[in-house]
């Protein structure tokens, strides 16, 4: 009986998690999942906030307290070639999925773009696309983030001092 209840709960939680993902995140993940060196991580808001509390400063904790979940996929660039797709192509998918670009940073050869998909008030979906020399990382999180934090802190700031 316990096994049955546990299975039911697990399936329910996993289904709810799948529904909460954006179409573009699902398509990105499904394109690469199972390939060599592709990693996927999903955290609900409680775990994410607990980790932030352990490792981050107060202003980050303040900014992310309304985050409901975080998902992350890392994909080697070689997998893009293998699947015959490209990062600019995925950016088009994001635009098609109503993600709007908030900011873009290019530093030391790394390319970081922040997108937002407006859903309901205080419940937006954010996507961070990080393109490094050999790896592409896609991070999706949902909730409310203080725009003051987004614009002030790296990678969105440029401070020369």
């Amino acid at each position: 009986m316990k096994t049955l209840i546990a299975s039911f709960l697990l399936v329910t939680v996993l289904s709810a998690t799948a529904v909460a993902q954006s179409k573009s995140f699902i398509s990105f993940k499904e394109k690469f999942i199972g390939l060599e060196d592709v990693h996927h991580l999903s955290l609900n808001g409680f775990f994410a906030r607990t980790i932030f509390k352990m490792v981050a400063e107060d202003d980050l904790n303040h900014a992310v307290k309304a985050i409901k979940n975080i998902r992350l996929v890392t994909v080697p660039k070689a997998a893009f070639q293998k699947q015959n797709v490209s990062v600019p192509g995925f950016k088009n998918v994001l635009h098609g999925d109503a993600f709007e670009e908030l900011a873009h940073v290019k530093e030391n050869g790394d390319d970081i773009t922040l997108y937002m998909q407006s859903t309901q008030k205080n419940d937006n979906r954010y996507m961070v696309l990080v393109e490094e020399e050999y790896v592409v990382t896609l991070i999706e999180f949902r909730g409310k983030v203080d725009p003051d934090f987004l614009i002030k802190n790296r990678p969105m700031s440029y401070n020369k001092s």
Binding site: L102, H104, V105, D146, K160
Partner: protein
């Protein structure tokens, strides 16, 4: 007649796109150079500030000023031996006839210039160009710009240099030069 109208529309649109910000040429020239850092902030990001709560009337003014911005672009290079050359090159690529010099700062290790573009009594673009011994930066802020709030906006966005405009209340049509 329709063709003429179409041509005029295309010309206006093309000019608008070209004149969007002065550092586009710089971006185009150096976008593939990995020694440069680039930052682009879209109008969507600035529009998020309209929903923020302000604690004081001053904060409300700053948030209001930020929400009217349409974009920010920064191109910079740190540890650059050719920072002074880049600083000079910036003035050759920026169409200076479209801008008025607002402020010029020179000290022992860096030069800074602030340029504005005005139309209809409103400032539509602010450019900051900085060339130091080792660092170079060009920044373009565009949209509806309230100069009184620019230094506060700079603090909010962690962009160094904009605090130099703190003591300015309004743009002056004549050049204002300051040596520090």
């Amino acid at each position: 007649m329709k063709k003429i109208i179409a041509v005029v529309i295309v010309m206006v649109v093309a000019q608008g796109a070209f004149a969007q910000d002065a550092i586009s040429k710089f971006f185009t020239k150096y976008q593939s150079d990995e020694s440069f850092s680039q930052v682009t902030v879209s109008s969507k990001m600035f529009s998020l500030f309209t929903n923020m709560d302000a604690d004081t009337p001053e904060d409300k003014e700053v948030l209001n000023a930020i929400s009217k911005l349409k974009g920010l672009r920064i191109l910079g290079k740190q540890d650059a031996r050719n920072a002074r050359e880049l600083y000079k090159e910036a003035f050759t690529l920026i169409p200076m006839k479209d801008y008025e010099e607002l402020l010029s700062v020179r000290d022992k290790d860096k030069d800074m210039k602030f340029l504005i573009k005005e139309s209809g009594g409103k400032i539509s673009e602010l450019i900051m160009i900085m060339g130091g011994t080792n660092d170079f930066m060009v920044m373009s802020l565009f949209g509806e710009i309230d100069l009184k709030q620019v230094s506060h906006i700079g603090k909010k966005m962690n962009v160094d240099g904009l605090e130099k405009l703190e003591k300015m209340n309004k743009p002056e049509k004549t050049d204002k030069k300051t040596n520090e």
